[in-house]
Point group: C2
Chain length 333, copies 2
């Protein structure tokens, strides 16, 4: 029995999550779904965007499946990542047939450090109209994120990928913080002689994801750089409607689409469930359910290739109909 | 007579700058070119990447035309921008015929704040393996960069553009620093009722430059965000070989291609001179030489459309041959 904490949150979270649950149920695996609240709505009602109960449920379950939060997103998701100590934010960038992508051969993963950098929340107004934010980079956090990235590259190499990690930083300007980041990267790379290691500037990297995305395997970077880079990368493979993510730590896993609550389309049932379904696929792999994960991904691939999609991808199905097309194939119907 | 401080710098700087000088000379305008040194080579010889003499020449001339620096780039260019107080880094993103672009109708300008943010150089190792960098955002710097952006949008509106400024920030996470950035943006926007003002998150913006670049006019953002965003944007309109930039202040102007010294292709005379020629076009406009600027841009457009280009764009000309094709047309031959 897998005990899953399910947080629908706000806006289209209330659509893409139930749609994804249907797909998960289609696998026939034994799940216990424990529902918890977070986001704008519960904030309005209780004054807390991330209630204690939700935190306890999240800590208690085998994994968390998260939809989206509205205005309160930063308070909910950054805090949850922190509390669960999910230090690796894993964001696959993959071209699927039937989806408008820059190239058909894009298939890499962005690993974003998830605990420090400018997300530490250390800010101050030190004088009127003069404000500061402190970017924190520590050797300890660097070591574990780089090991995570190299281990992932090893896993991928077993599946036929190149076996390469690219570290993106700005060590020419941020000489101390990203100097450390880059130095620790090459130090850790020594433990992984079977994996290629290369580094590049984050600005150049942001161009390369457009001009030569097919050359990457695993890309590792710091928190805010990863935030910015992964949205750009999503843009090259069909947009946020398709971008899943996994927040992984030593004790916990939190899975969420990269997109937000999309108030402009919420309630219309036109939200693309793909990003959330793919996040559930990542969750199943995290739970060791590889066969079921593959089954869902293959079903989804077929549905995308057939154009059985929501309007953003040119189809005419609604969120639940698209998910049902996936679920049917997962059930083998 | 326009007195121009010319800094070739390292690598392909020594190719794209002389090529561009030929194009500038073709205009028939009276120039005095004062050559100055900066970069790795002078650093190796003298221990200074940016010699005092160069700084004095730069301060003394009407404008600076800069090629590229190698390893020392950050020390040279960030320092020069600072010394000249060129607070606005202006990076046009424009699709030209004959160049592989995401769309043919891309035509916007990124205005990057050029004096603060994480480029302040305030870094420390506060304990072993624990490092910090301080991001500084001040009301004063915000005000002048936003006024610059709105004034630019006004200029562009006169030339038929939409008249819109989009402010990209991360105020959901950087609540104090980017909270200030966003607040000052809307405050300044009140002075420009004829120009539309909108804001968005920098991560979303990094996707929009791929998924809807045709919708932007002027995009304004902070220093490092602008650095990352503008390389991505360059990738959507043919790459760094085509990306020019202007660093503008109240007293000085510094013009440079966005690309670096490209040691891998230096000396081969295959570097694309377009980015530097377009930077010279921006310089001419800064100097009030609108007719000559237009003449060069039209000549370059023709040369690109005809495929009379360097190999990176599929042509078979070298750097100087391509520049000569432009110069010929500027001379009216
Ligand atoms: C909502 C926001 C706080 C979040 C982030 O910045 O990490 C989002 O942009 C993301 O990428 O998951
Ligand atoms: C060379 C480097 C310091 C510079 C920057 O970061 O500003 C470059 O990337 C640029 O965009 O002009």
């Amino acid at each position: 029995m897998h005990k899953i904490c399910v947080i629908e949150g706000d806006g289209i979270g209330k659509e893409v999550i139930p749609a994804t649950i249907k797909v998960l149920e289609a696998t026939g695996l034994p799940f216990e779904f424990v529902y918890a609240e977070a986001g704008d709505e519960v904030y309005k009602r209780t004054g807390k965007a991330l209630p204690e109960e939700t935190i306890e449920t999240a800590l208690d379950c085998d994994a968390v499946l998260f939809g989206a939060a509205g205005e309160t997103a930063a308070d909910v998701i950054v805090k949850l990542r922190h509390i669960l100590d999910t230090y690796a934010n894993v964001r696959p960038v993959k071209a699927y047939k039937g989806v408008k992508c820059l190239r058909p051969d894009i298939d890499y993963v962005i690993v974003r450090e998830n605990t420090e950098g400018l997300y530490k929340g250390i800010e101050a107004e030190i004088d009127e109209g003069i404000t500061t934010a402190t970017r924190v980079i520590t050797e300890k956090a660097c070591e574990r994120i780089f090991r995570f990235a190299f281990n992932l590259a090893r896993e991928r190499k077993k599946m036929g990928k190149e076996g390469k990690v690219t570290c993106a930083h700005k060590a020419n300007v941020l000489k101390i913080t990203d100097g450390l980041f880059k130095r620790v990267f090459y130090k850790v790379s020594e433990e992984y002689k079977d994996i290629k290691a290369e580094d590049c500037y984050i600005d150049a990297m942001n161009m390369y994801i457009i001009t030569k995305p097919q050359t990457f395997d695993v890309v590792v970077t710091s928190n805010l750089f990863g935030d910015i880079l992964s949205d750009g990368a999503a843009g090259t493979v069909g947009g946020l409607g398709l971008a899943p993510s996994a927040n992984i730590g030593d004790e916990h896993g939190l899975f969420e689409p990269v997109h937000g609550s999309a108030p402009d389309i919420a309630g219309k049932k036109i939200a693309n469930p793909t990003a959330t379904i793919l996040s559930a696929v990542l969750m199943l792999r995290y739970l060791g359910e590889y066969e079921a994960a593959d089954r869902i991904e293959r079903a989804l691939e077929e549905v995308l290739a057939l154009g059985l999609t929501t309007p953003d991808l040119g189809g005419d199905l609604n969120t639940f109909e698209m998910a049902e097309e996936v679920a049917k194939r997962v059930r083998g119907e």
